[in-house]
């Protein structure tokens, strides 16, 4: 009765099927390729899409990094990393530069990625038009007909209502001048990192059973109007209270005693590297895990 777990959990047939979907996704940048998403040992919506991509491409020589909300030590990141390590035995790292595969939820690392790396993003809602059209059948048609008026209209309505575009994370992007794509709920701050990325970016939505990709050196532009240009989250005048970094995406924290607001790098491994560089000795407790 007791079965030994196969390398990377899946049987080879399943991995091959997923890899085929990935190849198609790479060949048609930004196009959502349906795939037979398998049920995973972690919950649907907790990164099963990313995990399936990681497991189907990982080899023994790979080095894996898993991030959740910018942190390697976030419980879900630890959990996914543990599962991949348990079923493959591959080395894991928290250093962005060392990793060959980086699976992430909601962030692209601050350190620029390289050609040797594959960025795997977990996607909850792959359909950029879902908020304007609930039907899958209809959105598929809209993509085929290159009809993205719904997405533009959404931005236009926000400008009418609020005086500016009011998107949060997951601001839609146009890939290779053809498909509008949900970049996964990365902050607008990270959208620009997708443009002409040296690394291959794979996006996997397990529950919605879609795989899509941004191949290396592909144009990715955030949807915006000429008179209302795309704006990223601003941390002007703010710096990380630990490593003093500026121009990075930051978490806003509150000092419980004084009630003061202070900021800290969201990318914990970047922050650590900065600190190590400057030889500060500090214990960084990851608040996310508590």
């Amino acid at each position: 009765m007791q079965l030994k777990t196969h390398f990377a959990l899946f049987d080879e047939g399943s991995k091959k099927e997923i890899r085929r979907a990935i190849l198609k996704a790479v060949a048609i940048p930004g196009y959502q390729v349906p795939f037979a998403s398998r049920e995973m040992p972690i919950a649907r919506g907790w990164g099963t899409g990313g995990l399936q991509l990681t497991l189907s491409i990982i080899g023994k020589q790979d080095v894996l990094k898993v991030i959740d909300q910018g942190a390697d030590e976030s419980v879900n990141a630890v959990n996914i990393q543990k599962l991949v390590n348990k079923t493959t035995g591959v080395a894991t790292t928290i250093e962005t530069g060392e990793a060959t595969i980086i699976q992430s939820r909601h962030r692209i690392p601050e350190v620029p990625l390289t050609e040797k790396q594959i960025m795997v993003l977990q996607v909850p809602i792959p359909e950029p038009l879902r908020w304007v059209e609930p039907s899958e059948y209809k959105t598929k048609k809209l993509h085929a007909e290159n009809d993205y008026s719904g997405a533009w209209l959404m931005l236009f309505e926000q400008i009418m209502k609020y005086g500016k575009t009011a998107t949060n994370a997951d601001h839609p992007v146009l890939v290779h001048d053809r498909y509008v794509m949900a970049p996964s709920p990365i902050p607008r701050f990270d959208n620009t990192k997708m443009h002409q990325s040296e690394a291959l970016i794979l996006l996997g939505a397990g529950r919605e059973k879609k795989v899509y990709a941004v191949p290396p050196y592909t144009n990715v532009t955030s949807l915006a109007f000429d008179d209302h240009p795309f704006e990223v989250e601003s941390f002007d005048g703010k710096h990380c209270h630990l490593c003093q970094a500026t121009n990075v995406f930051m978490d806003e924290l509150v000092n419980q005693d004084t009630g003061e607001t202070y900021y800290q790098c969201n990318d914990t491994s970047y922050c650590l590297a900065e600190l190590n560089e400057h030889e500060h000795v500090l214990e960084v407790a990851v608040e996310h895990a508590r």
Binding site: M40, E73, S74, N168, D251
Partner: protein, 365 residues
């Protein structure tokens, strides 16, 4: 170079898992897998049905591991299923070969072969039976000996393995339209994701894997008002179906018998209007079909309602919208996405804060 230590997640997870084990065993009582298999039939059946994996043993193990938490047990079994290669597809089964344990019809009083109540809670009074608190093995044995004696005597008189189908009677009466035999190879929804519009085979697969509660609620909605459906249960059967797989020579005689599965099958009759040439209408019956692993009659009936809703529905009601129904009834998918809200959303929330603050600033101008 000095090194900054990171800690948190790994330790927290380990402690949490320890705590979970403690909760399961702290009362120092252990449930045997075989006890679950023997006494938790309803739960085992439901878990197998929603998991699309027919194994009473594995379902019982999942129930034990999940402390009887249904969504968790189904989750465990589905995840296990993903690690198994699919080696064969069984031959198509004609359900009239079922070894029937229970069979009722709400359409005809006197169905050929008769109504067979079998085991059902339907006519029990739902009063707590305080005698069960002190049930003894000796009493159990006495009761069993007597019952089995009576059963053997009764079983000699009847053959329950080739009962005629109620639909066949309606067909003979020409009250059901002839449906051409569709021999298209069905798409396996676990090997290929569904694309809309779907085929009926895909719909039936998703419905039968659906969460019992969700399928029941939507079926209920369809007959209560959100879908003008008034079905009559033509035939409800519970029994065992023999399964075979083909051999290489494709010679039916030499198929391999691989065991049997217990299923609940329902054929509901739904009257529909058929427009005629001279602006008049005629009424005919349409069949809604439901089948699921084990004995789970509510789910099978609800499935038959939703099958008919999706097959013929005008799309006015959500229960007739295949995307609405099929994409939301899966236990693992729905519970997974709801539970992902427990994960941190610091980044998206920070992004939202930024957006809200900018809008506020804009409106103050």
């Amino acid at each position: 170079m000095a090194y900054v230590a990171v800690k948190g997640g790994t330790e927290a997870i380990e402690e949490s898992i320890k705590r979970l084990t403690f909760e399961r065993i702290h009362a120092q009582e252990l449930l045997e897998i075989k006890t679950i298999m023997a006494t938790m039939r309803g739960m085992v059946d439901q878990v197998m049905s929603e998991s699309s994996l027919y194994s009473e043993f594995l379902a019982a193990l999942a129930i034990k591991q999940s402390e009887g938490n249904m969504e968790e047990a189904v989750f465990l079994l589905r995840a296990h299923r993903s690690t198994l290669p699919r080696l064969y597809y069984t031959r198509v089964v004609e359900t009239d070969t079922m070894a029937v344990e229970r069979r009722i019809s709400a359409s005809f009083k006197d169905i050929p072969g008769g109504q067979i109540l079998g085991a059902t809670y339907d006519y029990t009074h739902r009063l707590l039976d305080f005698d069960l608190i002190d049930e003894s093995k000796a009493e159990m044995k006495d009761w069993l000996d007597q019952f089995i004696g009576e059963e053997v005597a009764a079983a000699k008189e009847s053959n329950l393995s080739l009962l005629p189908k109620v639909v066949d009677y309606l067909r003979k009466e020409q009250l059901l339209s002839e449906v051409p035999d569709d021999q298209t190879e069905p798409i396996d929804v676990t090997k290929q994701s569904i694309q809309f519009p779907t085929t009926r085979a895909e719909r039936l697969q998703v419905l039968t894997r659906g969460q019992t509660g969700a399928v029941t609620s939507l079926g209920y909605a369809a007959i209560r008002g959100y879908g003008a459906i008034h079905p009559t249960v033509g035939e409800l059967r519970v029994g065992k179906l023999p399964l075979t797989i083909g051999n290489l020579s494709d010679d039916l005689e030499n198929d391999y018998y691989i065991g049997d599965i217990k299923v609940t099958e329902v054929e509901s009759f739904v009257p529909i209007s058929i427009p005629k040439e001279n602006n008049t209408e005629e009424i005919e019956f349409e069949i809604g079909y439901g089948i699921c692993y084990g004995q789970n009659e509510t789910k099978a009936i609800a499935m038959s309602i939703l099958d008919q809703s999706l097959e013929l529905g005008s799309g006015v009601h959500p229960t007739q919208d295949e995307e609405f129904v099929l994409l939301h009834i899966d236990s693992v998918e729905s519970s997974g996405f709801i539970s992902h809200l427990k994960l941190p959303h610091y980044v998206t929330f920070q992004s939202k804060l930024d957006s809200i603050r900018k809008i506020k600033k804009e409106s103050e101008k």
